[in-house]
């Protein structure tokens, strides 16, 4: 898939809560094709503390509006700077990068998308894609509390949404892997993205129940395009680059202790 370095222009920067914001970007020509699970390397220009680009998942592509969405959590200097970017500012992206969630086979149509924290970001694009392809994705989204559950109205456009919160303020109280839907319904395939402990719990559940499962991993990246070999995950087949051979891995290939 062809990669680009483009200057995109910010059309919206919505503060979702104290921690999260949603950037909408447009390009002066048609946005390139992107797949669910792919990411962009964002240049934080003019910042003395952020030398390298920052990897951010493609949250959604609005083809009608020629808009690319990035859902971002403020964790350090780079993301805090991005949160303040005004409409009209130019953002330099290298994208789309990485592999993608694999295509759903017609015989695996009971599909569950589990997202936690900022890991819900690629799930929106994946859900929209699945829906477009005629599947009925089910979402299971986890967060600390109600205010951390983001883009719920967007998600409900593409499928049924179940939620858990740690404080019980929305949906079921507890972690995603404790949600009753997992016992009530049988799934053929799980896609997940979120904090590593959550993904490991999901992987453990999937393995025990013989469900195919793909997880999107995070990692410290320098180049994002497979050149530096900084971002490896130790797989059963040796070190693999999360930026090119991932970020999406089938959990059976990982060496997770689950």
């Amino acid at each position: 898939m062809k990669k680009y370095m483009h200057d995109l222009v910010i059309t919206a920067n919505e503060k979702l809560n104290n921690q999260y914001f949603l950037l909408k970007l447009t390009l002066n020509s048609t946005l390139p094709d992107m797949l669910p699970g792919q990411f962009a390397e964002v240049l934080i220009d003019d910042s003395p503390t952020t030398f390298l680009r920052r990897p951010i998942s493609i949250n959604y592509v609005d083809k009608q509006k020629n808009e690319l969405w990035l859902l971002v959590q403020k964790v350090g200097d780079g993301t805090i700077k991005m949160a303040e970017y005004p409409i009209g500012k130019t953002l330099n992206l290298v994208y789309p990068l990485g592999n993608s969630f694999s295509n759903l086979l017609p015989n695996k149509k009971n599909v569950l998308l589990i997202g936690g924290g900022v890991g819900i970001a690629p799930m929106l694009m994946l859900g929209a894609d699945l829906k477009e392809k005629g599947f009925e994705p089910v979402f299971l989204l986890g967060a600390r509390s109600e205010k951390d559950l983001l883009e719920l109205t967007d998600f409900t456009q593409y499928g049924q949404v179940f939620t858990t919160t740690e404080d019980g303020s929305h949906g079921e109280k507890g972690y995603v892997t404790q949600h009753s839907i997992l016992t009530k319904q049988k799934f053929d395939k799980i896609y997940t993205c979120g904090p590593t402990p959550m993904m490991k719990a999901v992987a453990s559940y999937a393995t025990k129940n013989g469900i195919e499962c793909e997880a999107s991993l995070e990692n410290m990246m320098a180049c994002g395009i497979g050149a530096c070999l900084c971002c490896v995950e130790d797989t059963k087949d040796g070190h693999k680059c999360v930026c090119t051979e991932g970020p999406v891995f089938n959990i059976k290939d990982l060496k997770w202790q689950i």
Binding site: L43, L52, M221, I225, G226, A227, C230, C231, V232, G238
Partner: protein
């Protein structure tokens, strides 16, 4: 349009801009961003006699105006390179140079011997300066005696252009450069990464799995420039300068200090199109300042007496 051609100790470069080993993959990773045939030389990943998994994760830390890496020479070994990667590289219309690393002199010699047969590889870059693996060759590169020994051994086995990459983690780089010249190197490249370290105050752990790693990026440029200047005065073979080059002006500074060619490393991560911009920028500089050829500015630094 100034003349950018360089004869680097017998190796013809269409322009003096190369890519640094370990920062440009095998070149293909950048094909969407640059025209590989416009680059003066592509130095591919550190290659060893056998497959190496490299160091455990995490391998990278960001630092002020730079980064630390602890990749540890991950590569599939020279045979895999020859059989699986080289055939594609044959189609790349520029100098493709292989960076050779090893743990023992025999490793270096054997790897170089195998590469000598590849018609489309006009040169190797002998990496006697990798700080990221216990036997990564940095021990060779930090002492004139052992540097001389390994270069002499490879010289016997490798008839084409042999560039030797020097470690900056030494008291006197000019001394090492002279030893390497004496041992038969056709050129020297410098600097490899400075040995550094990052600590996470929150977790109270090192950031890198290997505790220490190699520092690169603009933060090292002043040290690199100094070493290139010292080395260019000390040896008669050409010097290839690198370390923190982010734009054409940085490159010009290295030429003035005595480099006959330059390499671009970490900058490729920030801007994958940077090689093209640097080539164009050098050309503009020469035109604007009335120089007909890149050769006019090599070592042209005016030192007051």
């Amino acid at each position: 349009m100034a003349d950018l051609n360089i004869n680097l100790g017998g190796l013809a470069l269409k322009n003096p801009v190369m890519t640094a080993s370990g920062t440009f993959g095998y070149g293909f990773e950048f094909e969407d961003f640059v025209d590989l045939s416009r680059i003066g030389g592509i130095i591919v990943k550190g290659t060893t006699i056998r497959h190496r998994e490299g160091n455990p994760y995490p391998r990278m830390a960001e630092t002020p105006s730079g980064m630390l890496n602890a990749v540890g020479l991950q590569n599939k070994g020279v045979d895999y390179f020859i059989n699986k990667i080289y055939p594609d590289l044959e189609k790349v219309n520029t100098n493709v140079i292989v960076n050779v690393s090893g743990s023992t002199i025999d490793d270096y010699v054997e790897t170089a011997e195998k590469l000598a047969y590849l018609s489309h590889i006009p040169a190797i870059e002998l990496n006697i300066s990798c700080p990221n693996v216990k036997q990564g060759g940095m021990a060779f590169g930090t002492c004139a005696g052992s540097a001389e020994e390994v270069v002499k051994a490879v010289r016997k086995a490798y008839p084409k252009h042999m560039m030797v990459k020097l470690s900056p983690n030494v008291t006197d780089i000019a001394e090492i450069a002279r030893a390497v010249e004496f041992a038969g190197a056709d050129s020297v490249s410098l600097i490899n990464t400075l040995l550094g370290m990052a600590v996470d105050a929150k977790t109270r752990k090192p950031v890198l799995s290997t505790v220490t790693g190699g520092l690169s990026g603009p933060c090292v440029k002043p040290v690199a420039l100094r070493m290139v200047w010292q080395t260019a005065k000390a040896v008669n073979i050409p010097v290839v300068g690198l370390g923190g080059i982010m734009n054409a002006t940085d490159a010009i500074e290295f030429f003035l200090a005595g480099a006959s060619a330059i390499q671009i490393g970490t900058a490729n991560f920030i801007d994958p199109t940077i090689t093209m911009k640097v080539i164009d920028g050098i050309n503009e500089y020469l035109d604007e300042n009335g120089f007909g050829s890149i050769k006019d500015i090599i070592g042209a630094l005016e030192i007051a007496d």
